[in-house]
């Protein structure tokens, strides 16, 4: 018996989130005398999973799976789970993970706990803590089925090294015809995405207009961060919808979230609660965001941000 994890890769390379999923599953496995098997698609660096406690990788090399196809991916994960007689399947929380997890759960006849933020409080029955009410609260959830699927919330467990002897096997699942196909993918290359970012720099309506985003992008560049925005900013078309964070947008679970000219409405805060450290730059000392922040600068963004960029450049120059 084993724990099966789905490890996502891009252009043949595992994503960082895959190592977090591996670390998490390895910790559960260690407590329960189990081993961790990973299933991965067209991945070249599967060996690195051994560093995070994975003892076997089922690597699927198949042209038909070179592009994401939910039905075929979910079918393959199911076949891997059956082969390994897995009772627990763990996925991450990327867009693809969230697409696949409920499908895998139904196919496996397993209860599904999404947005899980910590190790199980018990494994029999399985009890996990997950976020609910879009990060405004947590729910202790018990899974009553024999098998379970966990969706691990991003950046909730971290990476834990656990050097393990890891073997990679080719795995050839039965693949059926699919009536869905990808026509085109439009993805900014070389940009850090909100989903993967450790630091997110976010701008609100206080920035007055899209022409003022140059300094936001520059600050993000210096920090190796992703850019984000509040809802009105994307509604006004100043920034793309994909950057909108909050209760009706994307959740952000970065290590550092810098909010510039954002008031801190409850719907915005719900989306950034899961970020570990929050910095607010706002010229209104009464802005609600200060109550939710760790560090704050009361000041005009148009003066503070350019200075901060200069100082960070100096700091980076002296520290690398």
């Amino acid at each position: 018996m084993s724990i099966l994890i789905y490890t996502e890769s891009e252009n043949g390379k595992l994503k960082k989130a895959a190592f977090e999923v591996a670390s998490y599953a390895a910790a559960i496995a260690a407590q329960n005398g189990l081993s961790v098997t990973a299933v991965s698609f067209n991945t070249d660096d599967t060996d690195t999973l051994g560093t995070y406690g994975v003892s076997k990788v089922l690597n699927v090399k198949n042209e038909n799976l070179s592009e994401f196809n939910a039905t075929l991916y979910a079918d393959t994960i199911l076949q891997a789970a059956e082969k390994e007689t897995a009772t627990l399947v763990v996925l991450g929380s990327s867009a693809n993970d969230k697409f696949l997890a409920p499908m895998v759960a139904v196919k496996l006849n397993a209860g599904y706990a999404p947005n899980v933020v910590s190790l199980p409080e018990s494994t029999n029955p399985l009890k996990v803590k997950r976020t609910t009410f879009t990060n405004k609260a947590f729910a202790l959830t018990q899974v009553d089925t024999e098998k379970a699927v966990i969706g691990l919330a991003k950046n909730s467990f971290g990476l834990k090294e656990e050097q393990t002897t890891c073997t990679t096997e080719d795995f050839a699942p039965t693949i059926v015809e699919s009536s869905s196909k990808v026509l085109s993918t439009d993805k900014a290359t070389g940009k850090v995405t909100i989903a993967d970012a450790e630091i997110v720099v976010s701008g609100g309506r206080g920035l007055k207009g899209p022409e003022n985003w140059g300094m936001i992008e520059e600050l993000a560049d210096v920090l190796g961060a992703a850019t984000a925005c509040s809802k009105p900013v994307s509604d006004l078309g100043w920034r793309p919808h994909g950057e909108h964070v909050g209760q009706t947008g994307k959740p952000v679970a970065s290590n550092l979230y810098i909010a510039i000219g954002i008031s801190g409405a409850i719907q915005h805060l719900a989306g950034v609660n899961a970020s570990k450290v929050k910095v607010v730059i706002n010229n209104d000392p009464e802005a609600p965001f200060f109550k939710a922040a760790d560090y704050g600068v009361v000041g005009d963004a148009f003066e503070v941000v350019p200075q901060l960029i200069e100082k960070l450049k100096e700091y980076k120059a002296n520290n690398t």
Partner: protein
Amino acid sequence: MKILVCISHVPDTTSKINFANNDTEFDKNGVQFVINPNDEFGLTRAMWFKEKQGASITVVNVGTADTEPTLRKALAIGADEAIRINATPTDGFFVAKQLAKVVADGQYDLVIAGRESIDYNGGMVPGMLATLTGANFVNMCIGLEVEGTTAKATREIDGGKEEIETTLPLVIGAQKGLVEEKDLRIPNMRGIMMARKKQLAVLEPEAVEAQTQITSFEKPAAKGDVKLVSPDNLDELISLLHNEAKVI
């Protein structure tokens, strides 16, 4: 085309979340309920199909009688009929099973649900429903066109978007971007009057066992006070982020 829009009835986004009964239940006291925002985007897109392509729209909710005002609002916006499955929605699987029966009985071509509800579940129902009914599924859907039985859907991916060609029957998980914010509809007087005459069928649930249960709730730990740094002393901010918070 027959469209089913799944409506979840959720606390207004401004709600403060509190729990009752030893933290085992959501405290509905003083809470306003609304159509889940993701479902509102979906319903608005369904209205486009109704007006441009002559589709019919049924809205459905799995819930107790107190969700009826939410269904009536969807009828006032323009849905043709409503179904309420008379049950407490115990978990995502339970809801998906109930909806699967509705889909099978009504032979819907397109099922529009939301990417996630902003209350309990976190994006379970649409994917489960699609898998249970054997329909195609597109999650985080931000664009949808249907011609005959072929659908072109755009979905958000991490850092961009992807266009998918697929076929009906189809389930989508709708979200912001599927329609523009300005196109969302507020029911007008005429809509509200017409909604009173539309059918709201109440059906009894299938016997289904939930797979998961919430045993208790918890609120996030209270936040310590913010540390303010003077705008003239940004070196201190950098030093705090490096030495104290250890995030840069």
